[in-house]
C-alpha cells in the first residue's frame, strides 16, 4: 500500500490495468475450454462451474475498469483525502471488492454441489457490498 499512500491515483491505475490483464487472460482460457470441449467446464452437470467462472471473468474485468475509472476520477476532479478518511476507506473497499468479487466466483466454481456453488462464493456478497460502499464514498465526493 505504500504506493497507494503516496499516490492513490497511480496505485489504482496500476491495479486496474493488471486486473484487466488477468481477467482478459482468464476469458481467453475460458474460450479455450470451449474450443477443447472440456467436460469439467461444459457438461450440463458442471453448469454451475461454468456460470461461476464466467461471472468471475466478467466481474474481474469490470472491476479492473472501475479501478481505472476511480484513479482517473481522482486525478480529473482533484479529489483528495478528507478529514473523514474517505479516500483511504474507498480505496480499501475497492481493493477488497477487486479481490473478493471475482475471487469468490472463481473459488465457488472449483467445488460445486448440484445447482449450488462451493463455499468460496460466500466471498461474493462481501465483495459486492465493499464495491457498493466504495462507489458510494466516491459518488458523494463528486
Amino acid at each position: 500500500m505504500s504506493d497507494g499512500e503516496r499516490d492513490p491515483g497511480r496505485f489504482h491505475l496500476r491495479v486496474g490495468w493488471w486486473t484487466v490483464l488477468v481477467f482478459l487472460a482468464m476469458g481467453i482460457a475460458l474460450e479455450g475450454m470451449h474450443g477443447l470441449k472440456l467436460g469439467f467446464y461444459l457438461d450440463l452437470a458442471n453448469a454451475t462451474r461454468r456460470h461461476m467462472w464466467t461471472l468471475s471473468h466478467a466481474h474481474g474485468t469490470l472491476l479492473g475498469l472501475i479501478n481505472i475509472a476511480f484513479a482517473l476520477s481522482l486525478r480529473t476532479f482533484g479529489l483528495v483525502e478528507g478529514d473523514d478518511g474517505w479516500l483511504r476507506r474507498a480505496s480499501l473497499a475497492l481493493m477488497l471488492a477487486t479481490l473478493l468479487l471475482p475471487g469468490g466466483f472463481a473459488l465457488g466454481g472449483i467445488k460445486i454441489y448440484a445447482g449450488d456453488p462451493g463455499l468460496g462464493a460466500l466471498l461474493v456478497p462481501v465483495g459486492g457490498f465493499s464495491l457498493l460502499y466504495a462507489v458510494w464514498l466516491t459518488a458523494r465526493r463528486l
Binding site: L44, A45, A47, L119, A139
Partner: protein, 659 residues
C-alpha cells in the same frame, strides 16, 4: 423462485437495512434517493419473478384435455431443473419423458399433411396453423345430434420411440378420444390400431376413454382420471405432469424443494453427506423397494378391487416410491401352484385369457414392458442385491460415450451392454478361456453372450421380440412344457429340439426330455415353429430369422426365404410386419416391397411370386442332411408336402399379447 411471503420479507428486510444505513450516516438527499431507487429495483425484480412463477403454474390452454395440476405435493420436473440440470436433461433425452406430451412441432412425428386414411371410415389428419386436427366421417367421434363430418383437435400424443398414438379432444370432457391409427416410426407409416398389436380381434372399436382409464396410469405423473364408473365419458381428468417425470420415481417433490430453499441446510448436506430424507432415491432403496419403483409400470398388475379403482380415480395412485407396492395394488403372480392365489383365480373367472395374454404358462412374462415378474422370480434376484438399476441407468452419465438416443434405446449402462453386466456376481467367467469352457462357443461370439443364452428374446412387444427378464438356463423340457422357445434354438434355427437337448445333456448334464413328436427329431426349430407354432411363437421366429446372431449361426441364406414367404402372408398383421423386416435383411431381398396391409389375394399373389423367385434364384445350397431339417429337398426345392403338413398342424388358437 421465491414464494410471495419470501419476496415480501426480503424486500422489507432490505428496505430496513438501507433506511438504517441512511439514518446512521446522515446521508445527503442524492444518496437517499439512490438507496430508495435500489430498494425499488429489488422489490420490482422479486415481484416479476413471482409473476413469472405464477404464470408458469397457470398454463391451461384447453378444457378438453387433462388439466395439469400441481397438487398432493407434486411440483413437476420444472422445479427440479435448476438444481439438477444434468439429470433433468438426461431425463428429457429419455423416452420416459415423452410417454405422453402435448402436440407440437417437436412432439408430433406423423405427417399431418393432408393424408386421407381409410379404415372403415375416412380420417383426414391435417394442420391448422400450429395445431393438429383430424376430420372424419366416423360416427363414433360425433356428439349426439352433431352432423358429420366432424373435426377434432389433437389433445395429446403418446410414444416417441417405436410408434405414436394421437388422442383427440371431445367437447365438454377431459376424457380424450383415441385415434384409430398408430404412426409407426421406423416404417414412417400410418397403420390401423389393430395392425400394430399382436391380435386378430378388431379391439377397441370405439374412440373410448382408453387414455383416461388405462394409459394415464403409466403415461403421466400422478394421474387422477376422476371419472364415475357409470359415466367415464365425462371424466374431469387431471395429471401433475404428462409423461413419466422425476416424481414418478422420486416421489412428490414439494417437501424436498421447500426444505432445500434453506441455503444452510443445503450446504450442511453437501459438507456432511448422506441421504436427503425429503426425497426418494431409488438407488438407495433396498432391492425390493427399488424394484417396486419400476414395477409401478413394468409389472402385470391390477388394483384388485372396485373400491381401490374408485379411490385411484378420485385421488390418483396411493403408491409412492419407497412403499411396498403390494400393499396398494395386486401384482399378478401367474406361476402355477402358487398357493392362496385368489386374485389369479378371480381374474381367470372374469377373463379366461388374462394370463395367457401376458405370461407363458410357467408365469414368465411373454410381453415386453412387463419385466417385474421375470426379474423377481429370477435366481439372481435371490441374492438380495439385484434390481433394475443393476443394469439400467435412468440418467445418462456425462462420460457415457454413446449418443443420447442410443443410450435411450434401452437405458442400459455403458458397461452393462455385454457380459460385464453379469461378471460382478459371476467373476469366474471373466477370462475368455473360462467363458469358452462354460459356453462351448468362442469367447467373442454371440454364443458366449450371457444375455443371448440366459435372457433370450422371448418377450413380444411393439412389433419386435425383446429380452426376457427371467434369467434362466436354456432347457428343452421347459420349451416342451410352456412353448417358450429355448435360447439355443433361437440362434440355431436350423437345428432340431432333440439336437439341443443332446448338447445340453452333454455339456451341462441337463436331462433330456422325451420327444414323442417325431418333428422334434427331424425338423429344425426355425421352420417348425414358424410354420406350425401359434402366432406368438411365429412372431418370435419371424424376428429371429432376421436377427444377426441367428443368421450367422444358422446360415439362413439357403432356406429362410420360403419360411419367411409363409410368414409375410400370416393371418396376423404383426407377424407379417416382422417377417417382412427380416426378409429385407437377407441378401438379394434388401429392397423387397410387401404391403402387409394389402388385401388377402394381393398378399397371396406376392407370396407366390416371392417363392417362385427364390426357387429360380439357384442360390447355393448346403448339405442334404441339413437342408432336409429345414424342409429343402436334395434338389434345392421346398418340400411342399412337409410344409403343407406342418401348416395343417398350425396352432390357430386365438393369440393376443397385452403389451
Amino acid at each position: 423462485m421465491l414464494s410471495m411471503p419470501d419476496s415480501l420479507l426480503t424486500s422489507l428486510a432490505l428496505g430496513a437495512v438501507l433506511a438504517t444505513t441512511a439514518w446512521l450516516y446522515d446521508l445527503s438527499r442524492l444518496s437517499r434517493a439512490m438507496f430508495v431507487a435500489l430498494w425499488l429495483a429489488v422489490v420490482v425484480g422479486l415481484d416479476v419473478s413471482d409473476l413469472e412463477a405464477s404464470r408458469i403454474a397457470s398454463v391451461e390452454p384447453s378444457a378438453s384435455r387433462p388439466l395439469l395440476e400441481r397438487t398432493d405435493g407434486y411440483v413437476t420436473s420444472q422445479a427440479c431443473q435448476s438444481c439438477h440440470p444434468s439429470q433433468h436433461a438426461s431425463w428429457e433425452q429419455s423416452y420416459h419423458s415423452k410417454m405422453t406430451a402435448l402436440p407440437s412441432e417437436e412432439t408430433v412425428l406423423a405427417p399431418f399433411e393432408d393424408t386421407v386414411l381409410s379404415y372403415r371410415y375416412s380420417y383426414f389428419p391435417h394442420r391448422r396453423g400450429d395445431e393438429f386436427w383430424i376430420s372424419t366421417d366416423d360416427p363414433t367421434w360425433a356428439e349426439p345430434g352433431e352432423a358429420l363430418p366432424v373435426s377434432r383437435r389433437v389433445a395429446l400424443v403418446t410414444g416417441s420411440h417405436h410408434q405414436q398414438l394421437y388422442w383427440f379432444e371431445r367437447p365438454g370432457t377431459r376424457a380424450v378420444g383415441r385415434f384409430h391409427y398408430f404412426y409407426r416410426i421406423p416404417e414412417q407409416r400410418w397403420v390401423p390400431f389393430k395392425s400394430a398389436v399382436l391380435s386378430k380381434q378388431d379391439m377397441f372399436d370405439d374412440p373410448g376413454e382408453f387414455w383416461t382409464t388405462v394409459c394415464i396410469r403409466c403415461h403421466s405423473t400422478h394421474g387422477k382420471p376422476r371419472f364415475e364408473p357409470e359415466n367415464i365419458r365425462d371424466a374431469d381428468t387431471r395429471v401433475a405432469e404428462l409423461g413419466i417425470a422425476c416424481e414418478s420415481c422420486h416421489g412428490p417433490g414439494l417437501e424436498h424443494t421447500e426444505a432445500n430453499r434453506n441455503t444452510l441446510r443445503r450446504y450442511l448436506r453437501y459438507l456432511l453427506g448422506g441421504p436427503d430424507d425429503t426425497i426418494v432415491n431409488p438407488a438407495r432403496l433396498s432391492a425390493d423397494r427399488s424394484l417396486d419403483v419400476c414395477g409401478q409400470c413394468h409389472a402385470v398388475q391390477s388394483l384388485g378391487s372396485s373400491a381401490r379403482i374408485r379411490q385411484w380415480s378420485r385421488n390418483g395412485m396411493p403408491y409412492r416410491p419407497g412403499d411396498d407396492i403390494a400393499k396398494t395394488r395386486h401384482i399378478v403372480d401367474a406361476r402355477p401352484g402358487v398357493p392362496n392365489n385368489r386374485f389369479r383365480d378371480r381374474t381367470l373367472r372374469r377373463d379366461p385369457h388374462f394370463l395367457e395374454d401376458r405370461f407363458w404358462p410357467d408365469g414368465v412374462p411373454n410381453v415386453s414392458g412387463r419385466e417385474y415378474q421375470g426379474v423377481k422370480t429370477s435366481p439372481c434376484y435371490a441374492s438380495g442385491e439385484f434390481t433394475c438399476l443393476s443394469c439400467h441407468v435412468m440418467h445418462r452419465p456425462s462420460d457415457d460415450p454413446r449418443p443420447p438416443l442410443e443410450w435411450a434405446n434401452d437405458q442400459l449402462a455403458a458397461d452393462r451392454r455385454g457380459n460385464d453386466a453379469c461378471l460382478g456376481c459371476h467373476p469366474e467367467f471373466a477370462e475368455p478361456a473360462a467363458i469358452e469352457a462354460h459356453s462351448h462357443h468362442a469367447s467373442d461370439s454371440p454364443g458366449s453372450s450371457c444375455y443371448n443364452c440366459h435372457m433370450a428374446n422371448t418377450a413380444y412387444g411393439l412389433l419386435n421380440a425383446t429380452r426376457s427378464h427371467f434369467i434362466e438356463n436354456p432347457d428343452t423340457a421347459t420349451q416342451l412344457a410352456t412353448g417358450r422357445p429355448n435360447a439355443c434354438n433361437l440362434c440355431h434355427l436350423d437345428q432340431t429340439l432333440s439336437w439341443t437337448a443332446h448338447k445340453l445333456e452333454e455339456w451341462y448334464g441337463t436331462p433330456q426330455p422325451e420327444f414323442p413328436d417325431p418333428e422334434h427329431q427331424r425338423t429344425a426349430e426355425g421352420p417348425l415353429q414358424a410354420l406350425r407354432g401359434d402366432a406368438g411363437q411365429r412372431a418370435l421366429l419371424a424376428f429371429h430369422l432376421g436377427w444377426e446372431p441367428a443368421q450367422q449361426a444358422s446360415g439362413v441364406d439357403d432356406w429362410a426365404v420360403p419360411v419367411l414367404g409363409e410368414l409375410v402372408n400370416d393371418p396376423y398383421e404383426a407377424v407379417r410386419v416382422i417377417a417382412h423386416r427380416s426378409l429385407a435383411t437377407l441378401p438379394g431381398y434388401e429392397d423387397i416391397e410387401f404391403d402387409y396391409l394389402a388385401p388377402r389375394e394381393e398378399r397371396r399373389q406376392a407370396r407366390a411370386e416371392l417363392l417362385d423367385s427364390w426357387a429360380r434364384s439357384g442360390a447355393e445350397r448346403s448339405s442334404p442332411a441339413r437342408l432336409a431339417r429345414v424342409l429343402i429337398d436334395d434338389e434345392g426345392r421346398r418340400m411342399q408336402a412337409r410344409v403343407a403338413q406342418l401348416l395343417d398342424q398350425r396352432d390357430t388358437r386365438r393369440v393376443f399379447r397385452a403389451e
